[in-house]
């Protein structure tokens, strides 16, 4: 009896300590996030000063915590200058051999610094990391991502920053031309109201997360000749109820799946899940599409592929499928 209560007491103390530590760690992150923008500006100016010093050569040991910028660097011919990438980088295949330094939520600061980078591409929201790099006097490039136009704008800015201006501009122009071409091909065609689903519970119409009229995927949808059925809500993503879907009656439904989340043998079953809403035109007319691919998650150069796939899906007549 006494032994059991002793053990129980010890367990309770250990758990309380663990809980307390995680709470204080969480508090630390929160407090750090409230740092003023002043640090960022200073860091940016530091970065600029750093780059001006060796603009002719440009940084040769770049760490990219953002998969999109990694792809951009490869596309502008600077792939061989990358010293480290994030855990979530998957493309191009060369990144498999590169050191991994964490991601948006959990960047491994020690690893980053140990790789002796001369430029680190960080998310604008990684305040803690930016502080630490600032203290270590490592130049940074701030990545901010919003809509479709930001992709090529970022490419140009990044190219300028690393001294690959011409290659970057050319690549950006290519992408813009390809996107315009897609837009032109679907011009004049009837634009189906489309529900763009980012995720839902497997096998059920629950916790459906869809585009609400803002963000790069929404932009791509509109460019590819579809109208976002929830576009008036002006939100990046919306938790959409079955009632709203029935009411809005989209003419097409596109579901995006990334990584390993949808196996081939499950595609038909997942499509059939929508038969619970037979009055929806997309269901009635068999226009429920499940698309798999990483190009939908990475707002980088491969966005052209995403745009093509959307356009092929919505306007098969024009794209000869």
């Amino acid at each position: 009896m006494a032994a059991a209560s002793k053990i129980l007491r010890r367990v309770a103390i250990i758990v309380a300590l663990v809980a307390a530590t995680s709470v204080t760690a969480d508090l630390k992150v929160r407090t750090a996030s409230r740092m003023s923008a002043g640090t960022v500006v200073r860091a940016a100016s530091l970065a600029t000063t750093g780059s001006r010093a060796d603009l002719q050569v440009g940084p040769t040991r770049i760490i990219s915590l953002v998969p999109a910028t990694t792809e951009m660097l490869f596309v502008m011919g600077a792939g061989n200058r990358i010293a480290g990438v994030s855990d979530y980088d998957r493309f191009p295949p060369e990144v498999a051999k590169l050191p991994k330094v964490g991601g948006l939520i959990d960047p491994n600061v020690e690893r980053v610094i140990s790789l002796k980078p001369d430029l680190v591409i960080v998310y604008d929201t990684q305040t803690d990391l930016k502080q630490q790099l600032d203290r270590a006097r490592i130049p940074m490039f701030r990545y901010v991502h919003r809509g479709l136009p930001d992709i090529t704008e970022t490419m140009r800015a990044l190219g300028d920053r690393i001294g690959a201006k011409d290659a970057a501009n050319a690549a950006a122009a290519r992408i813009e031309a390809q996107l315009s071409a897609i837009k032109a091909r679907v011009a004049g065609r009837p634009r189906p109201s489309t529900l763009l689903v980012f995720g839902r519970d497997a096998g059920a119409l629950r916790h459906i997360d869809a585009s609400g009229g803002y963000g790069f995927l929404h932009d791509v949808l509109e460019l590819a000749g579809g109208t976002d059925v929830l576009g008036d809500l002006k939100q990046q993503s919306v938790d959409v109820s079955t009632e709203m879907i029935l009411r809005r009656a989209p003419e097409a439904i596109i579901e995006l799946h990334y990584g390993e989340s949808l196996k081939t043998e499950r595609i038909e079953d997942e499509r059939k899940v929508w038969n619970a809403l037979p009055s929806v035109p997309a269901v009635k007319n068999n226009r429920v599409y499940l698309l798999r691919g990483d190009e939908f998650v990475v707002p980088g150069p491969r966005i052209v592929i995403a745009a093509e796939r959307f356009a092929q899906t919505l306007h098969p007549q024009v794209f000869g499928r």
Binding site: M1, A4, S5, S22, I105, D239, L246, R247, R266, K284
Partner: protein, 344 residues
């Protein structure tokens, strides 16, 4: 002698009060179930819903009623009444008016199960119920098992303290593991985890409701044996035992029943805050402390309450919807503060 004094305030027999309580609260719950499916951000007409001339596939009103609204209202009724019942039982069992279905970690176990299913992309189906609710229920069962084992390991002595300590420990431990699982998740999975934790009653089909009815039904059988016993136990274990109550056995029945009800509710709709905490208190304000009245009244009032909260959640900022947990927190928080201030 003093009977004359007492006769001036005749006490209404408990059977009469019970009948009235069930009648009044039952009517409220029934009306809620009946009217809520007809109200929403999209106007529908009952006549259209039941219009036989339209084929079901073309009848938007019918689909909104049968797929979008009715399962949702029924889910709200089941979840609301289960959480309220579990709240009443936990408060009596732990002899603590601040106890709730979350206190002993059953809810955390259910959340952990769901997080694991979402983060590791589990994909299977059991009797028409998908991976996330199934994993969630298994998680709640696991948590119950640990708490039960901890409390059963101690045969004599103040089992309430051990139960509470064990349960709070399990709750803290599971919360830490949940944080770890979330840490492992990538960005989209984290997003889905967070959404799940806000609670959602939009079940959109009937199999999950029927599946939830099984553990809930079992818990109702357990609850039915408890009312008077909860009164006696809430005064003290010794007093209850001296009055012939098999305290150990009833505590086990109470723990298992309340945990089954909580696990099923959280598996069905995710964790919905405050229902289990404040519905028992509101009901006690209306019917008194006798658990023979409080239990059935809480079940019925809990159902009506959550149906009402969900109604607000899905209409107040139409066309967008709020997670129902936000409405229950907005109502529950201030009510809870008021209850606390009242007591002091």
């Amino acid at each position: 002698m003093s009977h004359a004094v007492a006769a001036h305030r005749p006490r209404v027999a408990v059977r009469v009060r019970l009948a009235w309580t069930v009648a009044v609260f039952g009517t409220i719950a029934f009306l809620a179930c009946l009217l809520a499916p007809l109200v929403g951000s999209t106007p529908i007409h009952l006549s259209t819903v039941f219009d036989r001339s339209l084929s079901y596939a073309d009848n938007i009103d019918a689909q909104i009623f049968w797929v979008a609204r009715l399962p949702r209202v029924l889910a709200a009724a089941l979840v609301g009444s289960s959480l309220a019942l579990a709240g009443v039982v936990f408060q009596a069992l732990l002899r603590n008016p601040l106890a709730s279905p979350d206190t002993l970690g059953v809810s955390a176990g259910a959340s952990l199960g769901a997080m694991i299913a979402i983060t590791f992309n589990l994909d299977f189906s059991l009797f028409g119920v998908t991976a996330v609710p199934v994993a969630s229920f298994i998680g709640s069962f696991g948590a119950l098992g640990i708490v039960y084992g901890l409390s059963a390991a101690r045969r004599r002595g103040t089992s309430t303290i051990v139960l509470l300590l064990g349960g709070v420990t399990v709750q803290a431990l599971l919360s830490a593991i949940i944080a770890f699982v979330q840490y492992l998740a990538d960005f989209t999975q984290t997003f889905r985890n967070v959404r799940w934790l806000m609670g959602s009653l939009d079940v959109a089909s009937y199999p999950p409701l029927l599946a939830a009815l099984i553990p809930m039904g079992i818990s109702w059988i357990g609850f039915a044996t408890l009312p008077r016993v909860l009164d006696l136990i809430s005064i003290g274990h010794e007093s209850a035992a001296a009055r012939g109550v098999d305290v150990d056995r009833f505590e086990r029945v109470a723990l298992v029943s309340a945990s089954l009800a909580t696990g099923a509710a959280v598996a069905l709709a995710g964790p919905v805050s405050f229902v289990g905490l404040i519905v028992p208190h509101l009901v006690r304000l209306l019917v008194g402390a006798d658990h023979r009245l409080v239990l059935p009244a809480s079940a019925l009032f809990g159902a009506a309450f959550l149906i009402g909260c969900d109604l607000v959640a899905r209409t107040i900022i139409a066309p967008l919807e709020l997670p129902v947990g936000i409405i229950t927190a907005i109502i529950g928080g201030p009510v809870f503060l008021w209850l606390l201030l009242r007591r002091s």
